[in-house]
């Protein structure tokens, strides 16, 4: 997959998913608000997480849970005002603090360190420019190579993104391509500057299941073959299982649970995560029962609930849940949950919760 380009060396040492020490991305106490006429919308509140080198981390949550705002604010992609990253929010990329970077300083990071694939491939490409022009734009802007070399490089990029007959695609316009193909072009553009971290914001939401599985396959290959770190943002727990090593569950602008992929899917300790999992239809399960679903809709972030953001919709909510925000409770080195159920005083309700949601493969059940 390597292309004969001047900066191929930036990949050396990371091939085959080999991990170097230190986190690719570290986010600490990150908060983002929007200042609107109605008041302050607290879209993201005190979120901390990290992404290791060569790691795939999924951020999961319903629409409006703040996952896109969080990731787009990392390199200040949202217009400010109205968006405002709050004091004390820290972002480290490869150990370097970029929280106070100016617009020009951030330009050295965008594309080359962090690249984005946006949700809607129909609207994120320029309908008036040929695919070739859009893929080469970044490279030519930074004057890294000549026009001719850039053209050849772009063909190579399209091929890497698993687009068939890339030479022909270079001369086409976005409307001539299918949805899946456009998303692949977006991936090619994101790869142009050889980023070490790829942020994919719902890359498959608008696509068919068959195209979805192909796009996920491409992302997976980027991770395993090139050791690229990926943040995958999605509302569909189903697609997380096959690709992510760790999962962060967000609700109402806060992290409600984080853990390794198996920990989240098999022994989640948060009612919200459990409901999200219960709402996905499974092909390999019994059909008889109704799907689990979450009553009501996500909270109004103008006046977020004082305590746990999920408490108004939670089946197990106790008196304290709506008033006092739950503390982080560590369950293992990677697994943590923010829920009052885990408090020693909530034993009775916790047992109810465990009865309704037993762990997968508990008591030595047969593995598939």
């Amino acid at each position: 997959m390597a292309c004969g380009t001047p900066w191929t060396r930036s990949f050396e040492g990371r091939k085959g998913g080999e991990r170097m020490s230190g986190a690719m991305l570290e986010v600490k106490d990150f908060s983002v608000s929007f200042d609107t006429y109605a008041g302050e919308v607290q879209a993201v509140r005190n979120v901390s997480f990290h992404v290791g080198r060569g790691e795939v981390v999924a951020i999961v949550g319903e629409s409006g849970s703040g996952k896109s705002v969080l990731t787009q604010s990392l390199v200040k992609l949202l217009p400010s005002p109205p968006a405002r990253v709050k004091e004390g929010s820290k972002v480290f990329i490869e150990g370097v603090d970029i929280s106070d970077y100016s617009f020009n300083q951030l330009r050295t990071i965008k594309g080359s360190k962090v690249a984005y694939i946006f949700q809607d491939p129909m609207t994120s490409l320029n309908p008036l420019a040929k695919i070739g022009a859009q893929v080469t734009e970044g490279i030519l802007c930074h004057r890294i190579m000549s026009k001719k070399a850039a053209y050849e490089y772009a063909v190579e990029l399209l091929r890497d993104a698993e687009i068939q007959s890339p030479e022909r695609r270079m001369e086409q316009y976005p409307h001539e391509l299918s949805g899946g193909m456009r998303q692949r072009v977006m991936i090619a553009i994101a790869l142009a500057m050889k980023p070490s971290l790829l942020i994919a914001d719902e890359p498959t939401t608008a696509l068919d299941v068959t195209t979805q599985s192909q796009i996920l396959g491409t992302l997976k290959a980027l991770n395993t073959e090139r050791g690229m770190s990926i943040i995958l943002i999605t509302h569909d727990m189903g697609i997380v299982a096959g690709i992510a090593q760790r999962v962060i569950v967000m609700y109402g602008g806060k992290t409600v649970e984080r853990g390794g992929s198996q920990e989240i899917f098999e022994k989640s300790r948060h009612p919200y995560t459990r409901s999200l999992l219960g709402s996905i239809p499974r092909l390999d399960a019994d059909k008889g029962h109704d799907l689990d679903f979450i009553v009501g809709s996500p909270p109004d972030m103008l006046n977020p609930p004082k305590g746990c953001p999920f408490s108004p919709r939670c089946k197990f909510a106790m008196a304290c849940c709506g008033v006092v925000p739950p503390e982080e409770i560590t369950l293992s080195t990677t697994h943590a949950s923010w829920c009052w159920l885990l408090h020693p005083g909530a034993k009775r309700v916790y047992e109810d919760f465990r009865r309704q949601y037993p762990d997968l493969y508990e008591n030595g059940a047969a593995l598939p």
């Binding site: 629409s63 569909d236 096959g242 992929s261 239809p281 092909l283 997968l360």
Partner: protein, 318 residues
């Protein structure tokens, strides 16, 4: 009469000025029984929306017949069409563009009752509130505009609008694919409840096979204008016969890391072929791993492989 709807050899072709004919729906036949939910699945561009719209007579069919409760409605005139639309309604895919942004929810839901002059204004108002409550909204929502609602709530408004004329049959055109997964489950459960409460029959169009399994009694799989397999839901998922059905099933992610770790992933498969001027033979031949020589020369017709299970693939049927 046992069948709510029977479709025989239905075709809908679009002429594309310079490039030929697009056979969006090509000689499709199936029945929907009273009170049944038929799921219709396939990738985008396979013609499932066109089929739904042709059945609803939004499009004029180019061949074949549609029977609704035994009556031929293929070429009925304007006045009869009006009566047909009281019995058959439609729910659209995109809850953001299918509601008029300048009408209140009450106006949207009651429009059909006004047009068909069903009740006096006071009853229409009462009925509107009743409908909103039926779909899980309440009277406070009646005077609001669509932009004030979330996607799931808008889809509920669309459902209330479809129910206003007390139809027997509803064409649901991908009603859940624009929604979050947790909200999809809410809406699917609502569809199931309404079916038993109001004794409805659905044609449920979707591209998500996993979700369809939860709602449909029978499932039809469509590929490039043709139905390639049709069977009872459980039968189809347990014993898929057509290679395309198999391919669709293999693309669905399973929410379990241990299972996913051992599942082969489909990679680099070619995209759906252009539906314009299809070559002779099986349209899936180009993507099929079992393609034999004869597949490219002659296509297969639907044949019964087991009781009530039809598939259009000779190789697989044997």
């Amino acid at each position: 009469m046992n069948d709510m709807l029977s479709v025989r050899n239905l075709s809908k072709h679009f002429t594309i000025s310079t490039r030929g004919t697009l056979k969006a729906v090509d000689r499709v036949s199936f029945d929907i029984k009273n009170g049944e939910i038929l799921g219709l699945v396939g990738e985008s561009g396979c013609g499932k929306t066109t089929l739904g719209r042709t059945i609803k007579r939004i499009y004029e069919p180019d061949g074949g017949e549609i029977f609704f409760e035994g009556r031929d409605i293929t070429h009925i005139g304007k006045e009869e069409l009006r009566r047909y639309s009281r019995c058959a309604q439609m729910i659209f895919q995109d809850p953001y563009s299918s509601l008029d942004p300048r009408m209140t929810v009450a106006e949207i839901v009651s429009e059909g009752m006004v047009i068909h002059r069903l009740y006096d204004p006071k009853t229409i108002h009462e009925r509107t509130i009743e409908l909103l409550e039926l779909v899980g909204l309440n009277s406070e929502h009646a005077n609001r505009f669509p932009h004030e609602f979330s996607g799931g709530q808008r889809q509920r408004v669309g459902i209330a609008r479809a129910l206003a004329l007390e139809p027997k049959f509803i064409v649901c055109d991908e009603p859940i694919s624009a929604l979050d997964v947790s909200i999809q489950a809410q809406i699917v459960n609502l569809f199931k409840r309404l079916r038993s409460q109001l004794n409805l029959t659905y044609l449920f169009v979707a591209h998500d096979l996993a979700m369809v399994r939860y709602i449909a009694d029978r499932v039809a799989v469509m590929y490039l204008g043709r139905i390639v397999e049709i069977a009872n839901a459980d039968e189809l998922y347990q014993n898929p016969v057509h290679p395309y059905t198999e391919f669709l099933l293999s693309a669905i992610p399973i929410p379990d890391p241990r299972v996913e770790a051992h599942r082969p992933h489909v990679r680099r498969t070619s995209e759906i072929a252009s539906p314009i001027d299809l070559p002779a033979g099986c349209s899936f031949a180009g993507r099929c791993k079992y393609t034999a020589e004869k597949c490219t020369s002659a296509g297969c017709e639907l044949v019964e492989v087991s009781s009530g299970h039809y598939a259009a693939c000779d190789a697989a049927a044997k």
